[in-house]
Symmetry: C2
Subunit: 338 residues, 2 copies
């Protein structure tokens, strides 16, 4: 049995290219005691992956040249010499961009955990019930701290994190305004996900949109994009507003310095704060978020929207869809049938 | 009796010029019931005054063309038809750039309050026991929230707010590193004010200085200057660091857009926050800060350093000293002898 892998071959400059990866195949070795073999079914494609390819100090160490590209994923255990997981179990964790993952069941960097396919479709476990959902839940509640009746604005509203941020904020009784690229995404955000409004930054004036749809100003801004949109929202924040810095997808492929928010002194004028968050800090409390999100999903109060691309060979173009704004919901790469 | 005034004649572009003001004199009218006449002794010169001259939405309304320039000050009551203040009382409040202030004793925008000259020299009431001291105290304690043993960095360390931020942080058991312009200021900050170190941004490498003097990173950064220094400090912050945005003196005379912090994504990586503050929010608790700062002053644990320029006619060049970094301690304009 063989496993096929994407290994980082070069540190990308700007957008990731096929030539930044080497494709390898290896024969799967025999398992040692305590190990499991996981067949990759789905891989999560996330904006953060672009940052992991850079040789820069961050919240996680960079992927090394020659190393299998890091990726979260979901698979099925096909061989096990561990009491932790049985053959047939579905697990989620850091599988990497490869068709099979082999290692200790308690490997700390993979951090595998069992998921229950009976509770939700598999892709949902990489979205609302996975890292994006956890990020949205803790970023909004712990850092954004919205109160009922406040106005919450979220960029990347049709994306993995944004969709759940907005839907959870609605559950909390907030007015929710999304920012997304294109009419179709905005329609989905409003009509399917139930946001109060969505501003199409590609075909409209974000400043005018905020004025129209946030008549009482912005109390919480959950930022996934950075760049000009962050700067515009800063001009509309209320006193004591909270800005959650979750990501800056507009800046990740920059070959020039990151654009800092010129309007940051709005924080001073409004006694507001801007705070970063990394989901891993909340790992102890993932079950709390999963329980709440799972309940809302089951009751039909929130939805999990995924955009599934098939075939590990499409890894690079699929990843780039994120930065081109082409994905419609959480982007997932399907590596094998279930 | 006449009062001489500086009235805003034009909105400055870049640095303030003499021609941006019209100098007027008026005969002081008779007092009505409830009014007082205050002879201006000292005026506080603050970086924020530059912002008040711009026609822009901020935490306080702009000074209007033709209006007496707003300024905090300290004076002596020379006539009174109010039970609130007696002739001979020393009062502090929004006197404006004029030799006499006349108005209702309870005027809300002047917000006059009585001070006790026996407790501290008059200039100290515009510094450690005035707005700069209150700003330092509440900005550091409420927004910066330093803990004993943490490293606190403050820019504008020899200035009005910075000097007290650093000295209070020392009282709390923090390691304190200042950033100031020039060897003389840095020597004063270390030798007279007791900071652990001071980085001379005009004659040294701030990045290298932070590396040397903050071996454990930066937990709290109290920012009075913005610009490149803010960006450099962002590269050295610790996990869960707090950045207090108190001012951005490097940007106030800009004729180009404010420089936003390019390294703001360090907030994300470090789960850190950047928060603005305006001292007026803490008005109810000024007595608490004044009591603590007054006690430390009396015990010789902290010092109040002022740089006094004489003569209301020097208002414009004196104000510009702030932006040229020429003041040595809190800058005060002495308008009359006591």
């Amino acid at each position: 049995m063989e496993t096929a892998q994407f290994r980082l071959a070069a540190r990308p400059v700007g957008m990731t290219k096929e030539s930044d990866f080497e494709r390898t195949t290896e024969t799967v070795r025999e398992l040692n005691d305590g190990e499991v073999l996981v067949k990759t079914l789905y891989l999560s494609l996330d904006p953060a992956m672009r940052g992991w390819m850079n040789d820069a100090k961050s919240y996680i160490r960079p992927v090394q040249i020659g190393e299998v590209m890091r990726a979260g994923g979901l698979g099925v255990v096909v061989a096990s010499k561990s009491a932790k997981f049985a053959v047939g179990d579905h697990v989620s964790g850091g599988l990497g961009v490869q068709t099979y993952w082999l290692g200790a069941a308690d490997d700390r960097s993979a951090a595998l955990y069992k998921i229950e396919p009976s509770l939700a479709p598999l892709p949902t476990w990489l979205n609302t019930l996975g890292m994006p959902g956890m990020t949205a839940y803790f970023g909004l509640l712990e850092v954004g701290q919205p109160r009922s009746g406040e106005t919450v604005v979220v960029s990347g509203a049709a994306g993995a994190v944004g969709q759940t941020v907005g839907q959870v904020a609605k559950q909390l009784g907030c007015r929710v305004v999304g920012i997304a690229g294109g009419k179709d995404k905005c329609d989905m955000v409003v009509n399917e996900l139930g946001f109060d409004a969505c501003i199409d930054y590609k075909n409209g004036d974000v400043r005018a949109g905020l004025k129209e749809h946030c008549p009482n100003g912005v109390d919480v801004y959950f930022d996934n994009v950075g760049g000009d949109i962050l700067d515009i929202v800063l001009t509309r924040i209320n006193m004591k507003a909270r800005i959650v810095i979750c990501g800056a997808i507009s800046q990740y492929n920059n070959t020039t310095p990151v654009k800092g928010p010129s309007n940051y002194l709005s924080l001073l004028v409004n006694r507001a704060r801007m705070e970063g968050m990394v989901v891993f800090d909340y790992a102890d409390r993932y079950p709390v978020a999963a329980a709440a999100l799972g309940k809302w999903l089951k009751e039909g109060k929130i939805k999990s929207k995924e955009d599934v691309v098939r075939g590990i060979e499409n890894f690079v173009p699929a990843l780039n869809m994120l930065f081109e704004g082409k994905n419609f919901g959480k982007l997932i790469l399907q590596v094998a049938d279930q």
